[in-house]
């Protein structure tokens, strides 16, 4: 079933009886070539690219709950590629390019909207840092513009430009950045993978790995044993828990990150604004709700909910930046569990167990990375070599001293 404008009109005229479920609901086979643990954005994108680009067959995605029930449904939907370091920026720019073409490719409306992101500047030193970052972005093929104060004012005249502590002096703008519909991304990849023959098995919790002679031969699940030649784990948030079943300790702590949405308002924020100094960022959804968030709560958590002090902190940041937000009422707040890696950058790598691969440690940035993460992980699973944009995301980089200190803070809450 292909989606098209013609199809929508036809279904509208014929009572919408022709729509079918977007993916099958198969029972698990006894064995697969590839088993992807985790049916979230990254796991589904991995299965999709594995089947589509690398022509893999006999692929299963195992999901503990329902499809997309983890962080792909608990984020603030921002896509961007405004990183600095050579280990990061080409990867995120690759992701940005995939965002630009994914809807046509998997024939599903993920509502990718390139509405631009502005990182606000408050000091001369920060302007220097953002100029450098912008140049690094340009070198990697991304777009970047340095705005002066009037440039920001032209876009967002209602910001508080004269905050005593953080006056706005300018901003770094990436016009190609924006937002996407988070569930649509999961559904699009799930449907695309299903059409290519991938078995998406929900309510199937992995309870252990079967490892013989240091090689993984399958996974124990709540729906029985499933054999596998290769197992890829993409369960950010629960990576520590899952990999402990394979006897591994990871350079990761699980933390809760909260996000918020206001009641629906008339269009006011037409892009994404980040106020890093105040631990606040905001965009507006197509339904009109202001979607905003801040920093992690700052203690290990698997609770998928946070506490009030951080809500207060984020609200204060919002009031400092855009006092008008004080008139909006908060509609919902939610928390997602982040894999906070020790250097703040992700891991896409083999593990010491043969045939077992890890995709983890996405910190704040998992959503924007979804397409490239899936592509790079599929590349690794299919070829046993890292994708050219993901060579820095090694599991052993910490012990070897090759940490990627993009922001130099990792899991350490007092550095945020």
């Amino acid at each position: 079933m292909r989606f098209s404008g013609f199809r929508v009109v036809k279904e509208a005229l014929t009572g919408h009886h022709g729509w079918k479920p977007l993916w099958r609901n198969p029972a698990p086979q006894p064995a697969y070539d590839y088993v992807i643990v985790g049916g979230g954005g990254h796991g589904l994108a991995t299965a999709y690219h594995l089947a589509k680009v690398f022509k893999g067959t006999r692929i299963a995605v195992l999901e503990k709950g329902w499809l997309g029930s983890g962080n792909i449904g608990r984020n603030t939907t921002i896509i961007r590629s405004n990183y600095l370091l050579p280990g990061n920026e080409p990867f995120y720019e690759f992701s940005m390019k995939l965002w630009e073409t994914m809807e046509q490719e998997f024939n599903f409306n993920a509502m990718v909207s390139q509405r631009g992101i502005v990182n606000l500047i408050h000091t001369d030193a920060q302007r220097d840092a953002y100029r450098r970052r912008g140049n690094a972005m340009l070198l990697a093929g991304a777009d970047a513009e340095l705005l002066d104060r009037d440039g920001v004012r032209a876009m967002y005249p209602w910001l508080n430009f004269d905050n005593a502590r953080f006056p706005i002096k300018g901003g770094l703008l990436q016009r190609r950045a924006g937002t996407a519909r988070h569930d649509g991304v999961a559904w699009g990849y799930a449907r695309g993978a299903d059409l290519l023959g991938v078995d998406i098995i929900q309510n199937c919790e992995v309870t252990g790995f079967r490892i013989e002679n240091n090689r993984v031969i399958g996974v124990e699940t709540s729906r029985g044993y499933i054999g596998a030649k290769k197992v890829g784990v993409a369960v950010a948030g629960s990576s520590g828990r899952v990999m402990a079943m394979a006897g591994m300790r990871l350079p990761i702590e699980s933390h809760v990150l909260q996000a918020f949405v206001s009641e629906g308002l008339k269009p006011v924020v037409d892009g994404v604004i980040t106020f890093g100094a105040g631990h606040f960022y905001v965009s507006q959804s197509d339904k009109g709700g202001l979607v905003f968030g801040g920093d992690i709560d700052g203690y290990n958590s698997y609770a998928q909910r946070g506490n009030l002090p951080v809500i207060e902190d984020v609200a204060e940041g919002g009031m400092a930046l855009m006092p008008a937000i004080g008139r909006a009422r908060l509609l919902r707040a939610w928390g997602g569990i982040m894999d906070m890696s020790m250097d703040g950058s992700p891991i896409i790598d083999r593990t010491p167990v043969d045939g077992l691969y890890l995709n983890a440690g996405w910190c704040y940035g998992g959503f924007k990375a979804t397409p490239a993460s899936g592509y790079a992980f599929a590349h690794l699973l299919a070829t046993d070599r890292p994708h050219e944009t993901a060579t820095a995301y090694r599991l052993d980089r910490f012990a070897r001293g090759y940490v990627i200190d993009e922001k130099g803070m990792g899991a350490q809450p007092n550095l945020h």
């Binding site: 629960s238 520590g240 828990r241 990761i252 699980s254 290990n300 958590s301 698997y302 002090p309």
Partner: protein, 96 residues
């Protein structure tokens, strides 16, 4: 969250800053032959359990003591708190 400080009674968790797993008290021997590997593990690797977790909190806006708080990471329930120095001293056989 309220942290039951052993000396000061229940205190708001906002008065504290968080460091992480209480195993950070067990610093490896820097002179051992295996020190590089031991420190890589000590600095970077974590058990990261879902459930009961012993962790270090610093009473920065209070009496500036380090506490070991036992907390459930799934429910945020705080099960107890003790002074980190008591724990560390007990580990080496009491106050010298």
């Amino acid at each position: 969250m309220l942290i039951p400080h052993p000396l000061l009674g229940p205190r708001d968790a906002q008065e504290f800053t968080y460091l992480g797993d209480a195993s950070l008290l067990d610093r490896p021997d820097g002179m051992a032959d295996t020190a590089p590997e031991a420190f890589a593990e000590y600095v970077y690797l974590r058990d990261n359990p879902a459930g009961v977790h012993r962790e270090l909190w610093f009473h920065e806006q209070g009496d500036r003591s380090w506490l070991i708080v036992t907390r459930n990471t799934v429910t945020h329930e705080i099960l107890g708190a003790e002074l980190a120095r008591d724990v560390a001293l007990a580990a080496i056989g009491g106050a010298q």
